[in-house]
């Protein structure tokens, strides 16, 4: 398929997406579950792709994503709460000490930068570790960050364990889509560049990559920092979506959700991560909601259904995916328009394969 044709298809797909979003905005009631899925899905897509950059493309098993999102969310909130609201928000800390605001887009970039700076500092000692040890260290770091942001001594900046609120948010689905879209596009460009190849080389074989002249420490640091930059922006978007920020919300379970999305989508596939984010959010926020509510058929109470059962079903789904479908939806392939050319062949290839793949 020629580059020109690809470009036309891509523009057409983006236009179609825009039209669909507009139609949804116009036709559906604002309370529709679809909007939650679209907004949160777009945000999670960005964070999942950024996580995939480290875990899937560079082969570093990092679990610090929630921590970097938290830094991003707080940075965004702290610098955008309007001055006149400070007295109300920072009621226990005399209106806080940060007495200026910056425009939303600047704050978004600052959120990314703050997360990236922290990632850089954390990366210096931590990235020497390998596999599981790196995961433990990054996870621990994320937990420490969460505790620090709730510490009273930082109250004048972070409002301690109280909510940050009243900062500017978005109410259309366009905003998260556009911001996430741009960020994901940048990540894709990076992955397809010479640096992306170096990252993949490190994933495939560290010793060989080093023998080819790739500076392991520098490239790992780069990948980790860039990933955190976008996680920070994702965190800021999540803050906007939730309209309030509280450090307690960025638990390690959030990292696991993201890890799950990355694994279901396929380690090393950007389109897989995006697809899986929307599926995951749709399933957890919408399709599987009924599992959490007590249901009666006539006078008969359906057994098991009730608060918390959704997570049980979810866990089972995860186990099934990990046991039988380890490559995820996309494996390490990417979505391409060429695949539509012969869907039949595509399906035969996907489902007709007999050999067991690792």
């Amino acid at each position: 398929m020629s580059t020109k044709k690809k470009l036309i298809y891509t523009i057409a797909a983006l236009a179609a997406l825009f039209i669909i979003l507009t139609l949804c905005e116009q036709l559906l009631p604002a309370s529709s579950m679809l909007f939650i899925v679209l907004k949160k899905g777009a945000i999670y897509a960005l964070v999942a792709v950024s996580m995939n950059l480290v875990n899937g493309f560079t082969g570093l098993f990092s679990l610090g994503q929630a921590g970097f999102m938290l830094i991003g969310a707080y940075t965004y909130a702290i610098f955008t709460i309007p001055l006149k609201e400070h007295a109300a928000v920072y009621q226990y800390f005399d209106g806080g000490i940060i007495q200026f605001t910056v425009p939303i887009l600047v704050a978004l970039v600052m959120a990314g930068l703050a997360a990236a700076i922290f990632a850089f500092l954390i990366g210096l000692p931590v990235l020497r570790l390998k596999s599981d040890y790196l995961a433990i260290a990054t996870l621990g770091f994320a937990e420490i960050i969460r505790a620090f942001f709730q510490w009273d001594a930082f109250g004048p900046v972070t409002n301690a364990s109280n909510l940050l609120r009243k900062f500017p948010t978005f109410d259309t689905v366009y905003f998260p889509f556009i911001v996430s879209g741009i960020c994901i596009a940048v990540i894709v460009l990076l992955i397809n560049s010479s640096y992306g190849r170096a990252f993949k080389a490190i994933r495939d074989d560290e010793i060989a990559a080093e023998a080819m002249g790739i500076n392991l420490a520098k490239h790992k640091q780069m990948s980790f920092t860039i990933s955190s930059f976008f996680a920070g922006i994702g965190g800021a978007l999540l803050a906007m979506y939730q309209t309030t920020v509280q450090a307690g919300a960025f638990k390690s379970s959030m990292t696991y959700e993201l890890l799950l999305i990355v694994v279901i989508g396929g380690l090393g596939s950007v389109s897989g991560s995006v697809l899986a984010s929307f599926l995951f959010i749709a399933a957890s926020e919408w399709w599987l909601r009924f599992l959490d509510t007590d249901t009666y058929i006539g006078a008969f109470k359906v057994p098991l259904l009730g608060s918390g059962f959704r997570m049980v079903v979810f866990s089972v789904i995860i186990m099934i995916v990990v046991l039988f479908y380890r490559q995820g939806i996309m494996g390490d392939k990417e979505f391409s328009f060429g695949a539509f050319g012969d869907i039949r062949r595509f399906f035969r290839k996907r489902f007709g394969r007999k050999e067991v793949t690792k």
Partner: protein, 280 residues
């Protein structure tokens, strides 16, 4: 045929109590093919790893093109444990990481092929160009380095064409047959524009005919790219046929050196390979 390119001096590599390389001195001159042979476990690959910076030698120094790339004396825990010779000879400590050494112009291949398995043949070779490029992460992401990238691609395609790997440039590296994987690994090393090429058992697992082809291939690339080659090999046909000089290592020590003819007649070498008859 002039000038010393690699000089290894009194190199000792000790792991805990095990001396893997013991007081080894090697010289490789520009334009030569030098072989390093020895029975299994003699410390040949460890020697390679010390030269390429994977390990830091416990004692001794390595000089490449006149500049010291590794120099060390027993430090820390090794101070007490050290059982080798020439203990106080090297005061300076120089250590480079493998990537720095590759940049200086030493490329290597591995005993068990280490290709980037999930990447295509072309991408495998393109990796080598990454270090020579003047790009930074910003220009690379936003394609401001497209001229450089295009040039790298062109060079790599030309290289693949020469090595007869062009038809499978988009195949996954792991899908190639064994012989071609070897060839790709050598091509990848060549793409870093080395002056010295270290080949670790390039003929491992090859039949006599493939080995013959490989020895022709090695001589051919040596002449074409003005290389100096240091190789580890067990196929004696190949070693005797192409090497100018041979070093023989056993239990970490150098036991013989010289031209193929000299080495073949050397009693120490015969003993090391065949064992010594002990008098009852």
């Amino acid at each position: 045929m002039s000038g010393n390119i690699l000089h290894v001096e009194n190199m000792t590599m000790q792991f805990g109590g095990v001396i893997a390389v013991n007081n080894l001195s090697i010289d490789v001159n520009e334009g030569e093919i030098v072989a390093l042979i020895g029975p299994n476990g003699a410390g040949k690959t460890t020697t390679f790893n010390c030269i390429t910076g994977v390990y830091e030698p416990t004692n001794g120094c390595v000089t490449f093109c006149g500049s010291t790339i590794a120099s060390n004396h027993p430090q820390g825990k090794m101070k007490k444990l050290y059982a080798g010779e020439n203990k106080g000879l090297y005061k300076r400590v120089v250590s480079h990481t493998p990537d720095q050494i590759t940049k200086l112009g030493i490329a290597r291949t591995f005993q068990n092929i280490r290709l980037f398995k999930s990447m295509s043949v072309l991408e495998n070779v393109l990796i080598a160009k990454h270090i020579r490029a003047r790009q930074n992460i910003f220009t690379a992401t936003f394609r401001l380095n497209y001229r450089e990238e295009r040039k790298a691609r062109r060079e790599c395609l030309a290289l693949l064409d020469e090595q007869a790997l062009l038809p499978m440039k988009d195949d996954l590296a792991s899908s190639l047959p064994y012989g071609l994987q070897r060839r790709l690994e050598i091509s990848r090393a060549l793409a870093t524009n080395p002056r010295l090429l270290l080949l670790d058992e390039p003929a491992a697992g090859m039949n006599p005919q493939e080995t013959q082809e490989l020895s022709e291939f090695i001589v051919q690339i040596k002449n074409k790219y003005n290389l100096t080659i240091l190789l580890i090999e067990h196929h004696m046909d190949l070693v005797m046929q192409i090497s100018d000089r041979i070093y023989v290592q056993d239990f970490g020590r150098l036991i013989a050196q010289g031209t193929p003819e000299e080495v073949q007649k050397n009693q120490h070498v015969i003993d090391a390979y065949l064992g010594v008859v002990e008098d009852a």
